[in-house]
């Protein structure tokens, strides 16, 4: 059924493929161009941060100055001039809106256009109404509210966070990280940089120095977060880098599902996005993190587009904790992203489900790291890469077991699908077993859509594009099923759009 919907959706798409490419004409406030200690102080000052945070930022900035840009990824792009960027851009008057009524209507309009209504009585587009049943539901699964709390980040600031009051009733803290730094400094101080330290890598250090906003989530012990949490990132201002930082802490026995969406306007110049996400799961806690990344991919000749250089890492700190990453990567000119799990707690579990689609001149170098440190830890990696046009799509991943990670278990499957003879699909897995009790299995395949499959579908009356969408949706099905309902419909549609024009 889902496939038929996809085909219908693909049909509806107009010629302009990237439909989120509009710009919002809004007056913004910028920090001076370039990067130096003054800019770091400026950002920290704008956010009214505690002094220790400024110190941490400066420390990161100093480390960054001594680091070299990584060049090992299979991507090729002109050198970034870090002095030619704005590191802070905020819509005027967005400093601290208390409620939705105070938010600039232009911003609300932008988000409505993106399908993200920021009014609490409404729910996300594509999401079914309260109590509505879907045949995709698992037998007996509980999916009640259909409500999604949204933290909307526009350029460098969080403009609004919805459903805060309702979440607070359950004890869940969901706010922008700037607000968390002011309201819950002890929590932030304890966990920030504990998974991705300031000097972790080049872009993480840059992010630590200049990060402007992002989301903060704290789920108290034993609480199952009553609704899906989500952040919607929108880059609007020209020549501006977006550096957000997300910190999610699931305390003992809690559960949270978090969604992330991103879009940016069509611009001729490339834009830099260097985010850091830190997840911490304590004893028996579970975090499910899903991303649909749809930054502007650049035009057919590879002009413009977002450079997405992201560090995402989860720490399964407590026994029996679980972190699951699901990502759908369709946008960005260049992607450099490896959501990882550190499996520290005994019997902890890490999962990574990924769909990476590249078309045109896009370059994707993405994958995961599963680092087994504790006893009886397990991990699972399912990665589906689809390359079309003249793009390059690389899976790069590491599975390692420490000597003390007795009975570590991993299963990895990386499949690549090539559409057209001008694209490239690559697999670069690293496997390191330092104990004989670890059982690692890895398999990878690369192939194209077989002529037989196409012939069969087309003989049943499907057009070429419908047939491709159908087959590709089947190819990525294992991962699609991991996505929360909110994203499933959108993703199926996206797959169709991303591959439009790739055949024939």
């Amino acid at each position: 059924m889902a496939d038929i919907e996809t085909i219908a959706l693909v049909k509806d798409i107009d010629v302009d493929k990237y439909k989120y490419g509009f710009t919002t004409d809004i007056e913004s406030e910028y920090a001076p161009k370039g990067l130096n200690e003054e800019i770091v102080r400026f950002i920290s000052n704008k956010k009214n941060e505690p002094h220790w945070m400024l110190e941490a930022r400066l420390e990161a900035y100093r480390r960054w100055l001594q680091m070299d840009e990584p060049t090992w990824a299979k991507v090729d792009y002109p050198k970034i001039d870090f002095q030619d960027l704005y590191y802070y851009a905020a819509p005027k008057g967005s400093a601290a809106p208390k409620s939705l009524d105070e938010v600039d209507p232009k911003l609300l309009e932008t988000y409505a256009k993106l399908g993200i209504p920021l009014k609490e009585q409404e729910i996300l587009a594509g999401v079914r109404k309260q109590g509505e049943k879907s045949e995709l539901d698992e037998e007996g699964s509980e999916y009640a509210s259909g409500k999604v709390a949204v933290d909307a980040v526009f350029d460098s600031v969080s403009v609004v966070t919805t459903f805060k009051a309702e979440l607070a009733k359950a004890g869940v803290i969901f706010c922008s990280i700037s607000e968390a730094l002011r309201e819950h400094p002890e929590l932030v101080k304890r966990y920030l940089f504990s998974v991705v330290p300031q000097g972790d890598n080049y872009y993480a250090a840059l992010n630590a120095a200049v990060f402007s906003d992002g989301s903060f989530v704290y789920v108290p012990p034993g609480v199952r977060c009553p609704m899906e949490l989500s952040t919607y990132f929108r880059m609007n201002a020209k020549n501006t880098g977006q550096f957000e930082r997300t910190l999610i802490i699931a305390d003992k026995g809690s559960y949270v599902s978090y969604l992330e969406g991103c879009t940016a306007p069509t611009r001729e110049d490339s834009q830099l996005h260097a985010a850091v996400v830190e997840l911490i799961a304590l004893d028996d806690a579970e975090i499910k993190y899903s991303t649909v990344q749809n930054w502007y991919p650049g035009d057919a000749e590879g002009k413009g587009g977002v450079y997405n250089f992201v560090t995402k890492r989860g720490d399964c700190r407590g026994p029996r904790s679980k972190i699951s990453w699901t990502q759908v990567e369709t946008g960005s000119a260049i992607t450099w992203k490896y959501p990882s799990c550190i499996l520290r707690g005994e019997e902890s579990r890490g999962e990574f489900y990924s769909i990476a689609i590249s078309n045109g001149r896009q370059q994707v170098d993405s994958g995961t790291k599963m680092i087994h440190l504790g006893k009886n830890t397990s991990s699972r990696i399912i990665s589906k890469g689809i390359a079309a046009g003249r793009s390059d799509n690389t899976y790069r991943g590491l599975v390692s077991a420490h000597r003390k990670a007795l009975n570590a278990r991993n299963f990895t499957q990386c499949d690549s699908l090539l559409i057209g003879d001008e694209c490239g699909a690559h697999t670069v897995p690293y496997i390191e077993a330092k104990t004989s009790t670890a059982q690692f299995e890895h398999e990878a395949t690369t192939s194209k859509i077989s002529d037989d499959q196409m012939f069969y579908c087309m003989s049943r009356g499907l057009s070429q594009e419908e047939a491709v969408a159908l087959i590709v949706n089947g190819f990525v099905r294992d991962v699609l099923q991991q996505l929360p309902m909110e994203f499933m419909a959108e993703t199926q549609k996206l797959i169709g759009i991303s591959l439009e024009g790739s055949v024939g």
């Binding site: 090992w72 000597r403 690549s416 090539l418 559409i419 057209g420 003879d421 001008e422 694209c423 490239g424 699909a425 690559h426 697999t427 670069v428 897995p429 690293y430 496997i431 390191e432 077993a433 330092k434 104990t435 004989s436 009790t437 670890a438 059982q439 690692f440 299995e441 890895h442 398999e443 990878a444 395949t445 690369t446 192939s447 194209k448």
Partner: protein, 390 residues
């Protein structure tokens, strides 16, 4: 390699910078650290009486009828050889560090051109006798003419402490066939660095098997290039490692033309503190449509302190291909051991049976019955030895 870094004693003796872990291809085998004593090159060493005969007799292929070419301490030994060198020119230009070292230090090596069908296997035996630590380098060039076929064995034996550098260049012509078997049984105090560079032409068939059981430090590179369509290559290998042995194999299979098939199968057994590494890369160049490339590496870790690292890579620029790889790592399946025990087979024997079956799959790729039997015998002896010690 950065010239500004101070040379280690080993580098000083060689006059070369050694590859280190900052180089991606050497991330798990840092020669700068692992080669900790000097092995000066070009040291002429005479074998002591009886050494050569004793080592020759220890070869697993001593009983296999073969035409032998023997090289002692890097020099051709006419007394023990039945086949003499032909004139075949070396043509491969590789910028790999192992090859650069070989070009600088090679003293001799087998040069062979095969025409027609040669039924008797040809064995190259490389012997290093016990003497002061030194570098021994040999370079072999083998050309299989169009429509010709042959079986070649490369046996590396030795005693004492030395660094052996062995590069083999192979060119296989149209419709030709080559079966190559290499056995590395260097001294347990030796370093073995090797590179095999193979070019496979149209319709040719190449089979390659490498058994790695000797040397304390071993690094073997292989580059296999398809330059004519409809050719087929099967590259396999087995590791039997114990103690503190370290073995690293890096293969690059380049599909440059359409319609070729490649298979790689590696079975690695590691005991004690041994560390086994397998890095395999399949590159499908633009236009190499209908490529069929499969690669698998499997590790069996017999002790908790053994280690296995793998990097099976695919780099693909053509769409109509079927490529894949698989890699596994683990210890013996307890259910299998239990099953055999429940049938009255003692535990040690049950384990030996399972290990033999595990590596046996790689031996099965060897065509020549006598050679395969010799390999199986060797593995059986290795297992008995292991049981006696453990």
């Amino acid at each position: 390699m950065n010239a500004a870094i101070a040379r280690t004693a080993a580098e000083e003796a060689l006059g070369f910078h050694l590859p280190n872990r900052r180089m991606e291809e050497w991330r798990w085998t840092d020669l700068r650290q692992l080669i900790d004593k000097p092995y000066p090159p070009r040291q002429k060493v005479e074998a002591k009486g009886g050494d050569v005969e004793r080592l020759l007799a220890s070869s697993p292929f001593a009983g296999v009828a073969a035409t032998r070419m023997v090289f002692v301490n890097g020099e051709y030994d006419a007394k023990h050889s039945k086949q003499s060198n032909a004139f075949v020119e070396s043509t491969a230009a590789l910028d790999d560090p192992v090859n650069l070292m070989n070009v600088a230090f090679a003293t001799d090596g087998a040069r062979l051109r095969i025409e027609g069908n040669v039924d008797t296997p040809i064995e190259f035996v490389f012997i290093s006798t016990d003497a002061s630590p030194r570098t021994v380098a040999t370079r072999n060039v083998i050309e299989i003419a169009d429509d010709a076929s042959a079986t070649i064995i490369e046996t590396h034996l030795g005693e004492g402490s030395y660094l052996a550098n062995s590069v083999t260049e192979i060119r296989i012509g149209h419709n030709a066939r080559l079966d190559r078997v290499k056995v590395e049984l260097e001294s347990h105090d030796a370093v073995h660095l090797a590179h095999a560079h193979v070019i496979v032409d149209r319709n040719a068939a190449f089979r390659d098997f490498t058994l790695t059981a000797g040397a304390k430090l071993n690094r073997q590179n292989g580059t296999f290039r398809f330059i004519g369509e409809f050719a087929d290559a099967k590259v396999s290998g087995a590791y039997l490692l114990a103690g503190k042995q370290h073995a690293d194999t890096r293969l690059v299979v380049g599909h440059e033309v359409a319609n070729c098939a490649s298979r790689e199968l590696f079975k690695c057994v590691m005991d004690g503190h041994a560390r086994g590494i397998f890095q395999g890369k399949v590159i499908v160049r633009p236009g190499a449509q209908k490529t069929d490339g499969k690669q698998s590496s499997h590790a069996l870790l017999l002790s908790e302190t053994a280690e296995f690292d793998a990097k099976p890579e695919l780099e693909i620029y053509a769409d109509d291909v079927a490529c894949g790889h698989g890699a596994t790592s683990g210890d013996l399946n307890h259910d299998h051991v239990f099953y055999l025990k429940s049938r009255g087979i003692p535990e040690a024997e049950a384990k030996a049976l399972l290990i033999a079956a595990f590596v046996g799959e790689a031996f099965d790729t060897v065509h020549h019955d006598g050679i395969r039997a010799a390999l199986e015998d060797f593995a059986a002896r290795w297992l008995t030895e292991r049981r006696r010690k453990g």
